[in-house]
């Protein structure tokens, strides 16, 4: 195997997700290379070495400043071709999914996504892919090289090996179409209050709450339990609750000891952000809501009735 891991970074740090994939790649045996693309990112290469990369290709160029996918496709395509890479791995993110998909088209390469593991079986690489709302686990593979794999967020933990990487700069030559989209205003993460990623208890609200004013129900329960408040993408986009609390694919990935989902249907985008929570309790009036399929306790009922009572009982118990 000559494996290349796309190393994503934000605010001068390599992402935990891509370092996790790096650890996975290193565990498969052969030397693993990483690729860092950005502007002023050369120092990150040493960090990648500590987390298992034997070699790091660095594409450092002002044109790669904004986290847009298409220039990164150009860089990766060139490295994969020039270096004879046979396997390219990505930890899922909005950016990584677009880069991986663009690269697959560019190289006419097979891509498998939403993988939770990658193993060598009978001399071939096999991806493990939960499908159809995780009701079936599919073993998938590639018929040609290069292979492209996109892993579900949080599938692997980073592993610090303390090694060092050989660094190789790569030239950046971009295609015309890759430079036409422009970042006008890049997201700045709001950093008010403690991050919900560190909370032991999260009480989260979704559209089933009926309106932004009903988030007080969720807040009061969270307060009683000493936990944080989470929200679904639907209510964040609707402006009911701040983005910093969003749990799911384009939000935070959390794994508290207790997750209470109030009025949340449990769409796959939400599920991937919270499914590794210790205990999951769901309250939803729709008995067919997907959330019940991955809850430890499901309550088919009205959040407006159940949640205030629950808050009272928790207070009494703690009081």
């Amino acid at each position: 195997l000559t494996t290349l891991v796309f190393l994503e970074h934000h605010n001068g740090e390599l992402s935990k997700g891509s370092l996790g994939v790096l650890a996975k790649a290193a565990s498969l045996g052969d030397d693993v290379a990483g690729l860092i693309a950005g502007s002023g990112v050369r120092d990150l290469a040493a960090e990648a070495g500590k987390f298992g990369a034997a070699k790091v290709y660095v594409a450092d160029d002002p044109q790669l400043q904004a986290p847009l996918p298409q220039p990164r496709v150009d860089v990766l395509a060139q490295v994969v071709r020039d270096k004879g890479i046979d396997t390219v791995l990505f930890g899922n993110s909005v950016l990584a999914a677009d880069v991986a998909a663009g690269l697959a088209a560019r190289l006419d390469a097979g891509i498998n996504w939403d993988l939770t593991d990658l193993v060598e079986e009978d001399g071939r690489l096999v991806g493990k892919r939960p499908a159809l709302q995780d009701s079936v686990y599919v073993d998938v593979g590639w018929t040609t090289e290069p292979r492209i794999a996109l892993f579900r967020s949080g599938s692997f933990d980073p592993s610090e090996s303390g090694g060092s990487a050989e660094v190789e700069d790569v030239d950046v030559a971009l295609e015309q179409h890759s430079t036409t989209a422009r970042m006008i205003d890049q997201a700045h993460e709001e950093s008010e209050g403690p991050s919900i990623e560190d909370a032991d208890v999260i009480v989260a609200g979704g559209r089933g709450l009926g309106g932004p004013e009903n988030f007080t129900l969720v807040e009061e329960l969270a307060k009683a339990l000493g936990g944080a408040v989470g929200a679904t993408r639907a209510v964040v986009d609707a402006g009911w609750y701040p983005y910093s609390t969003q749990v799911g694919q384009t939000g935070k990935t959390v794994s508290p000891k207790l997750y209470i989902a109030c009025g949340i249907s449990g769409a796959i985008q939400h599920k991937v952000g919270m499914q590794s929570s210790g205990v999951i309790v769901a309250i939803n009036k729709d008995p067919n809501a997907p959330i019940f399929e991955f809850s430890d306790l499901g309550v088919v009922g009205d959040v407006h009735e159940v949640v205030p009572k629950l808050t009272e009982l928790v207070k009494q118990r703690k009081g």
């Binding site: 998909a101 891509i111 989209a181 430890d296």
Partner: protein, 252 residues
């Protein structure tokens, strides 16, 4: 402005993978991929904002996918093009992106709109693959799309919050399911859809010799067993039952 909306028919109700072919069973009733309804809605709003233009649906799938396309026509799209070919059955992402790009090239739209993901495969990968084949800029996870002076301004969501990205037309955009509330087709729309043009094309019609997938499915396995899952009614005792449960699990 000419807008192409890429839509997909997905199996309705409980989905299963056929153990023989190891492909998704598409034999039953089909529905419009729910994520794509948001793409159709956004295209309709962009067209309504300018008061002119054409919306063409572009899809690949079995012949009966025309039924799902009719639902999108009933919402207000103008016509539909379906690539349907036995040789395209089971096409993977890279093969599908090739065929769709060829069908889209034939249309030469100013804007190509996708839904956020497919409701059956949960893939959010097709838009960027198609954009690469078309050599067009792509913006995914759009939460707001505005169009002026041949440019698209897209507010989109990532793990870090909202970006604003500008791209010249022609461009490809994938909209999130939070961008709008898709309209229900009116009775007039439903009746009118029956007389809107629905074209079915073979791979040869769009200049594709054959489609080669580069991935395969080896085996289907049961999901790992998860702990006991209890479901109770939300009656007067529900709150107490939750507290008891949390106490039992030692999380309160």
């Amino acid at each position: 402005m000419k807008i192409a909306v890429c839509v997909k028919q997905v199996p309705e109700g409980n989905r299963r993978i056929d153990p023989g072919s190891k492909r998704l069973d598409r034999s039953g009733e089909g529905a419009l991929n729910p994520f794509d309804a948001h793409a159709v809605e956004e295209a309709l709003r962009l067209k309504e904002a300018t008061g002119e233009g054409e919306i063409v649906l572009v899809s690949m799938g079995p012949a009966k996918a025309q039924d799902a396309l009719r639902k999108a026509l009933a919402m207000g799209a103008d016509r539909a093009v379906l690539v349907s070919d036995d040789a395209a059955a089971g096409a993977d992402l890279v093969a599908t992106s090739h065929a769709l790009a060829k069908a889209l090239e034939r249309e030469g739209a100013d804007l190509v709109v996708f839904g956020q993901q497919a409701g059956d495969s949960d893939g959010a990968v097709l838009p960027a693959a198609v954009a690469d084949r078309l050599r067009l800029p792509v913006v995914s996870q759009a939460a707001e799309v505005t169009h002026a002076d041949g440019k698209l301004t897209v507010k989109r969501q990532t793990e870090f919050g909202y970006d604003v990205i500008e791209a010249p037309l022609p461009a490809v955009v994938a909209v999130s399911d939070a961008i709008n509330e898709p309209r229900y087709p009116s009775l007039k729309g439903i009746m009118g859809a029956k007389s809107k043009p629905q074209e079915t094309l073979s791979l040869a019609d769009i200049g594709v010799d054959g489609l080669e997938s580069h991935t395969e499915v080896y085996a289907l396995n049961d999901p790992p067993a998860r702990g006991d899952s209890r479901k109770i009614d939300g009656d007067g005792n529900a709150a107490q039952a939750i507290v008891d449960f949390l106490a039992e699990k030692r999380v309160v």
